[in-house]
Symmetry: D2
Subunit: 372 residues, 4 copies
């Protein structure tokens, strides 16, 4: 299947170059009857837009979504839901000098090596602006998941080398993540990280960071062994984000230096807290710990799903860098235009959206796992 289509039953087709007429997506396979409106999309898209005092790009687009199909009288029809957002603030002139130049840390040259030519304006298809399509589609997925009681929350766990308290640690406050421009779950940490990001901006540099995500309300049983495992599909979803360089679930890389007696999550009798009933003869269980991050054997356990994504520093920096041009010569470049210093706060709704797309698909696929 095309690299621009994601999912098996609940699918998204993404399209758009950052400086073309429009970005958009087509969501297929959403069941009929899910409440959906442009207003709901607008809210999610706004979360992805550059913040006020935050470390993000100052490009200020309206990002006004238009629903072209698939919704009738406020509900999904079961038909494809096409959503577009016009590119209104595209200052192509900023990018003229990039026409024959390959930016360090960007996909400019590999894109030409693959396709023979490229839309050089703002990265074209490889622009971070493409994540807008994912957020719009993810909003549909979230609306579906909400009907089943599934809730997805992401936040900036680390930025510019400064780590916020993790879930369970003192000071972790998810409500705070909704308040500060970095989306960090701790006000003091956020302030320190913001200051450090300003220093980097001043020196023409940029920073990496990490986004964590927690999903609650997920019933046990989601995931399609052996290749369509819950964590496998989430890993693909996360690494499909431009600047992502790694992902880990639950204890993650720390588990690699740990022992079985420490890591094993032990099942314990529990009440079935899920809306969905368990199959006949299967007892309700929980787990005494969640080192697995809510997934065992690629199947959701009913515990919170927890994972973290590592993002590299934004490659577009205003500091002068040496690079190569189309003639094969070395050139000097200071990237102009409007760029984020750290991708994390704007990645937060994108991580949520991608998780929602994976989960909506697996939820629907799971309906066929056994006879009623």
């Amino acid at each position: 299947m095309s690299g621009n289509i994601f999912g098996t039953v609940f699918t998204v087709t993404s399209f758009g170059e950052s400086h073309g007429p429009a970005m958009g997506c087509v969501v297929c396979g959403c069941p009929a009857g899910v409440p959906l409106s442009a207003e709901l999309l607008r809210g999610e898209l706004a979360r992805r837009r550059p913040g006020g005092g935050g470390p993000a790009t100052t490009r200020a687009e309206a990002d006004e979504p238009e629903i072209l199909s698939g919704v009738f009288e406020g509900r999904t029809l079961g038909t494809p839901i096409a959503i577009i957002v016009r590119n209104t603030s595209a200052r192509s002139a900023d990018y003229e000098e990039l026409k024959d130049l390959y930016r360090p840390g960007h996909a400019d040259w590999v894109w030409e090596a693959k396709y023979g030519f490229r839309d050089y304006r703002g990265g074209g298809r490889s622009s971070g602006r493409e994540t807008l399509c994912r957020v719009a589609a993810g909003a549909v997925a979230k609306a579906l998941l909400a009907k089943y009681g599934v809730s997805i929350r992401a936040w900036t766990q680390a930025a510019a080398g400064i780590n916020a308290p993790a879930p369970g640690e003192a000071g972790f406050d998810l409500d705070e993540a909704a308040r500060n421009p970095l989306c960090m779950p701790h006000a003091g940490t956020a302030a320190r990280a913001l200051a450090e990001l300003e220093n980097l901006r001043a020196s023409g540099d940029s920073a990496g960071g990490a986004v964590s995500c927690s999903v609650t309300g997920l019933p046990p049983g989601l995931g399609e062994p052996v290749f369509g495992k819950l964590d496998a599909l989430l890993a693909a979803a996360m690494l499909s984000l431009g600047a992502a360089k790694g992902v880990e679930f639950g204890a993650g890389f720390a588990a690699a230096s740990s022992r079985g007696s420490v890591q094993n999550d032990r099942p314990v009798p529990a009440a079935n807290s899920n809306a969905a009933p368990l199959p006949p003869g299967v007892p309700a269980l929980g787990y005494i710990s969640n080192n697995a991050g809510g997934v065992l054997g690629g199947i959701s356990t009913g515990m919170p799903l927890e994972f973290t994504v590592a993002f590299k520093p934004v490659p577009s920096i205003s500091m002068k860098q040496q690079t190569a041009d189309r003639s094969g010569a070395v050139r000097e470049l200071a990237v102009k235009g409007r760029h984020d210093i750290c991708v994390c706060p704007r990645a937060v709704p994108v991580v949520e959206a991608m998780a929602a797309l994976v989960l909506a698909d697996l939820l629907l696929r799971n309906r066929s796992s056994r006879l009623d």
Copy 2:
């Protein structure tokens, strides 16, 4: 698509329960004309089998592959290649007590929550033995990739909390990885890790570890933006392995606390070292560093592809653990049977196989990226 099928053009259908009649796979989409034999498969499968003095399970199966279709006079026909391996050493009786018990750290209960019942013998479909199917299929992919000069090498980077030198560090020796039972690229480290694993075995415990992989000879241009990115598909492939808890590419998680000026890989003029010619007008370039791990914007750069997978400790431990049973009561369990202490050395050929499957698929898909 089913969770048991992997790939888009070069696909693998995996089947088999660990104590059923046979494991196997069907490889579809392999071009006609690739040399293939049972002997070649046997060699790859042998690498996955438990080693002599190593930390792996002592179950000693022949794992004799039989090619049922798709090969004629020593070459692939372009038709599906079906390969089976009989399960000859399946001592089901070992597992009778697990019938109504859910092992900690295993998928036993979630499997029932999803499917209603399970083959409890040795994990059934969720057994690590399923990776045999991947190694067989991966051997076909490797044979195809070899025709294009692509070479894949994995090794144990860390085990039981003991880290081997990384590529570029003093003492790193990939030839050594082929000699010691842990597949570590440094003899002294391997010896210390083996000793630590023996301690864990004695105490009835187990250990995690990390496997790294490097791919050379890959032309630039592989990967299908935006969801079918090279790293996205590799991430899915790696997290589809039972005990994997994380994956990182190039600088990986370290990039999250780094700066753009440090991380950016700068393009430099270079000779085209690839068999495949670049499109007209596109200059030959290399990169002065490889923090990206050989992939930018989800497309191969022509630099070595480098990634690391974190594995959790083997959950089957002989130490007594509390767990729950089908009646919902708490029970005590000491897992019997033959189990690895650390999954890494046997994961090495599996990581290679999964990488080969992703790369074979992307190589074939790339043929359609532009007009000739």
Copy 3:
């Protein structure tokens, strides 16, 4: 995969309800470098629009295509090509009475049985207007196929029970099909059929018909056995058209009452007339006859690809019919609005478009059938 996505490598995602904001499609997997413009799309869409004196609906929409992505400086980028057409002439009021009524011969009730509710305005998603998406996508496929010398021509073979001369029969004139409003390859037959259609219109009735298609320039070797056969995929493409009730290839149903000695197409030595060279050691051959219609074992033979599609009469007729309503009661209905009397002339470009989509996909897939 969703029912709204077609193809494997060259894919189309179709969207839109007939009285929603817009119809459209996203074409993924088109190679970079194919010349494409709104002008080209406009030409194909115009062929699908209701003709002047013809038997088609009198709804006169501009059907103005807008390319939202995937084209840069007049050539395809290798990225998704999104095309939309606004629904400007949608008189929803015409359809108010159909809100609680199920039209005979239409999908109104089954749509509700499946999805729970429907967009009742003009058939919504099940409207023939959806074929506009296919024609737009097909225009892209045709542009790609043209690069490889493949040409697709369809025409109305029969309408209202009146048959035009078939290819090879006296009077068959494909140029004539481009001149008369019925797209029939014989002027006199077209005149008689038009007269008969006018009679039916006067009596409030409608007619069926058949569309035939011929593809030339196709190299041998296209088709993916055993389920992705050329004729299998074309059959799916044709039966995916709303009013299609059958399809046949070459001698078709007549072959069922014939003999092997008559039907067998015998290979004969021939010059290789294809741009694409044959594999080493394979001689150039042709066939002395073409009863197979250009496909053997699901693979193109290099002879012209020939097939015919049967269309049922347009179900929307102005004659009074009994039907049932939402309350389950019997009601009388005379369908208002603008409707075709016979679907054939407007189906001609749609049949071509669907054939183009299948062939573009198979052409690209075929690139992976053997080692270079």
Copy 4:
């Protein structure tokens, strides 16, 4: 997706060459809990084997199925079901002369044009023996469908130009189809057709025919518009059969010369005879006629699903024919070996199997069409 994989949720991967070690299939996506045994498979495979006095090949293979995975204690596990049948009666020597010869009406040459070489023994992958894989997989689909009350029956409607009475016509007797070797629903017609087939055998010739199929118990709502329509998928399934040259649904090609007032199936109030309840607010309806053949807008209506497949004459005839060889020279050929005179009776269970595969897939996919 590979041409050897069929379906979206309920999938089949087919493999095997007629004279290789084995034929087989892997069924993925079958829900857990469906009763399945080798005995059940054996019964279906026996229906496909050459009959006693019938017009079929005299190759008498045991066709003994072995289930390698996916079934535990008599029920499906929800994991892939791999089934193999060894090729025991493969007399390769019969085919030696075909090594460098291209048979008329066969895929020999096009196979080489595509793949560069072929397994020439008995057609290899393009042999009719491949349908064995479909029958085995179809048996699994039938077992699933039986759980939902769906029943599939096919029969030979015409052979050697002799037509049996159609459903609803005097003399049509589906029980008779199970008694005579031609599977015709009328004893006298079967006797005449058999006599005619014997004449053809004597003269070294062969015959075409038509197989019809009726499916009862199907709930309304199955089918995935717009490309995944019920009839579109069935058409692909039927044309994927080697000798099929056409397919028609309900009135089929006859509808093309009919009128809307005649063809329109009118909805009428009816009791809901389906196990599955209709969505809230949707009345139970039936149709006063079934010209549509049980499908409107690509969605099942709840009326019997009815279609007919046209098969060309068996191309392997013992009569001398001219053909071409690898050197490009003209050669004379009288096909030896064991061949059917008319494919129909053996196609009957294959048509049923392919219908079952389509319907099982659509049944499972339909579960996601609307919110509960």
